[in-house]
Amino acid sequence: MKRRDFVGLTGLAAGSLLLPSIPGFGSGLLVSPERLLEPGLDVALKKRLADVALNAAKSAGATYADVRIGRYLNQGIFTREKQVQNIASSESQGVGVRVIANGTWGFASTNQITDEGIAKAAQLAVAIAKANSKVQKEPVKLVPQKGYGTVSWKTPITQNAFEVPIAQKVDLLMETNAKALAGGASFVNSALFQVNEQKYFASTDGSYIDQDIHRIWPTFTVTAIDRASGKFRSRPSMSASMGLGYEYLTPSAKEKIAGPAGSDVIGYKQRYDILEDVTNATKQVKQKLTAKSVTPGKYDLVLDPHHLGLTIHESVGHPLELDRVLGYEANYAGTSFADLQWKAKNIPYGSKAVNIVADKLQPGSLGAVGYDDEGVKTKRWDLIKEGKLVDYQKIRDQAHIVGQNESDGCCYAQSWQDVQFQRMPNVSLKPGKAKLSVDDMVKGIDKGIYIAGNGSFSIDQQRYNFQFGGIVFYAIEKGKITGMLEDVAYQANTQEFWNSCAASCDESDYRLVGFFNDGKGQPSQSSAVSHGSATTRFNGVNVINTARKIG
């Protein structure tokens, strides 16, 4: 049997039971891949089942109820060197019912998609709410939300990745590995993740919302080893996970953006060239073995969007989550320095070059949906304007706390099994208005470092102090890239860092980076989110050297 026949018709191999450890695969059951192409429940049936849940909840005493009927499809293809390690396809279907009873939230879920199973889950959700209401102090208060009636939304993809033969996907990954090995890599792993969330939402507000959401993430890691010295270095892919279909893997010259001259870095917009990137990676990972160790000190940093996205995520996206600001995450993900008092004082978050927007509609982004998981139509809104904090991210039970009367539509649950709560929308730095290329930006720097790709990242529980690494680092001396560096990480305070923001390149340099598995909440749930920016300069940032000896 040829590999193509296998991968085209099957999809599972030994080791698949390790599925729960695969990011983004949630708790779905492994299935044969062809099952992922079967249609889910008919919309009319989902509407009838949703009404079963809403009616059962109301009958049991709920004053509000919503129901999510979900079918979650995932596929991951994993390879190393010349072999396919695993092809795991999973499917998870079920119903989650959320209610307010006695002024208290209750939630229960079931995989029994029958009238009886759904009604039972609704009744259990009400029972949990009533049990908790005995110790509840503040009743839940929702801002009003109109019902939209029957509506639908779909990620605007051109090629459903689940419909692409697995053989084609495996061949691409194997070709990726072959490029790395031919280029002299010691090891290479590659993978392709695909997600399809088929979600039906209904609530007692009168909405019946059917959505079909797609995401994709191709990735690899190339490792080079110098046996003589025992030194090893890795270089992961510079792909972004995206809210796109398989078309993302169709290379397009107009979707590529070169880094500064002398850097060998290539960035990608809405289309990704994995073969080009792995060729670059193999070259760069060998350079990393002999790169000069950085001298610590203050540098002007030029951060490419693949790197800066994570900085935006950690130092702007998370601190402006209103649930965190209010203390709901205090036991786990933390609180925020950017509290309501801080905002009232109008303290500058950053320089006037800093304009940051939240956007649940952005094409190609991971967070793009038509409606959130409590039936709110999505939108775009400003978070930071010319360096001043102007708003937070809110859902229905928080908006009244900041005197607002509508949700921002950023409520999300990772599956039908999990309760929905406030999650980060796409949060992006607007590009500069004036024309500015990355080469022009570098030309103006006397002593700096160009950083591409997101590496090690860590920030404190109130989002002040952070330390970020990257994937590749290049020294900038007197306006030119002069060579690769290693052992680089920069430490900063969020407010000081954004106040050191000098300029961003223009729209032509703007692109997204995405994160498939952003963790938050207890029990922890993951969500996918994108961040856009153009290459941006930050002046006088503290760079440390991370090299250590262990004997």
Partner: protein, 444 residues
Amino acid sequence: MAILSQSEAQAILTKVLSFSKADECEASLSGNVGGNVRTARNTISTSGASDNVSLAVESRFGKRSGVATCNQFDDATLRSCVQRAEEIARLAPESPEYMPLLGPQQYVAAPESFSQRTAAINPDYRATQVAAGMQICDQQKLSSAAFLEDSAGFRAVRNSKGLQAYQQRSGVTYSVTVRTPDGTGSGYATADYNDASKLDTSALTTTAAKKAAMSREAKAIEPGKYTVIMEPAALVANTDASLLAALMGALDARSADEGRSFLSKKGGGNKKGEKLFDERVTIYSDPTNPEIADLTFSGDGRPHQKTTWIEKGVVKNLYTSRYWAQKAGIPDIPRPNGWIMEGGTQSLEDMIKGTQKGILVTRLWYIRPVDPQTLLYTGLTRDGTFYIENGKIKHPVKNFRFNESPIIMLNNLEAIGKPVRMGGNLVPPLKIRDFTFTSLSDAV
């Protein structure tokens, strides 16, 4: 249905195997029932409940294998599940890392991994437990955020080579962060058990509340190298990466042999047998230890046995897949569940009393790898960081960012305290000299 007895589970698995036409077949059942409740601002925020049982069937023809799963247990569904696994296996390419299924194995006597008291937890119990903590904070005008989660279930395996395994397990975890209303103080406490009757949410909340009150008006001191006393929750976290778990996670033979581990040797080979840590460092796993009872068999059916990983500072064993063990001609040892770091008899209080100058660390946060070559990690202190002078906590200090490797840390040991359960492991508080703090954080 979530918690099947051994006979119920093996009856289903026997039936599944009877449907198999493959050269080899293995079936496994997993079931779990559980719930959770979360609080913040001294009130309940969310809670939920779930239960499920699922079956996985792996069929093999020669070196080809296929897996299928289901969660319905009528004969037709089971038969279909087996057939699907066989169809997949017939079409699969031969695996270059194929290993035949294991035959009958001897497992150590199942420890007390399951508690009926944990399995009986209901929404009222959860609400009552978190209410006890919230009441303490109400009385002291403090604000708490807490999380209680419980689960009970089983795992059963049976294969055509005669392997049989079955075990039940349960667990409950509680963690609480208490903050002062002005946002200048924060404290934390956590515990986990198999048996929920051991859980004392009031005591844990009291500890966190005390730390919150003590940590007000923290003073800034210069970052640098300090003697630190790490509480067990600072060494192992069940909500984040952690330094000791990172070390245990790096004891993999294959990555060491392949040259991409801190255990890789120049020129090839690994550092097993070398003394890499202070001679007081001994870490082992023991599935019979009743304090951290867990499954006595691994995912591929291998028995978990008492295994010494580091003895008197020397790396004694590395875990590995069956394939790599055969290829490399090394012992075939599965990755452990919980592990035990040997300690002394000193309590945390004793260790503080014996410290002239140092810093007490309650918890670390956002710990991320910086360099896999040296196992260097970065992260921050959180929820209770205090300056110790002349055997007493003198005042709270602002939080620090650290850049440190657990390898360096375990070479700079000053003292080891009495181990306590933390995240399913037994972890002692450690006193470490020259721990590297690189910057300050204003976060509380």
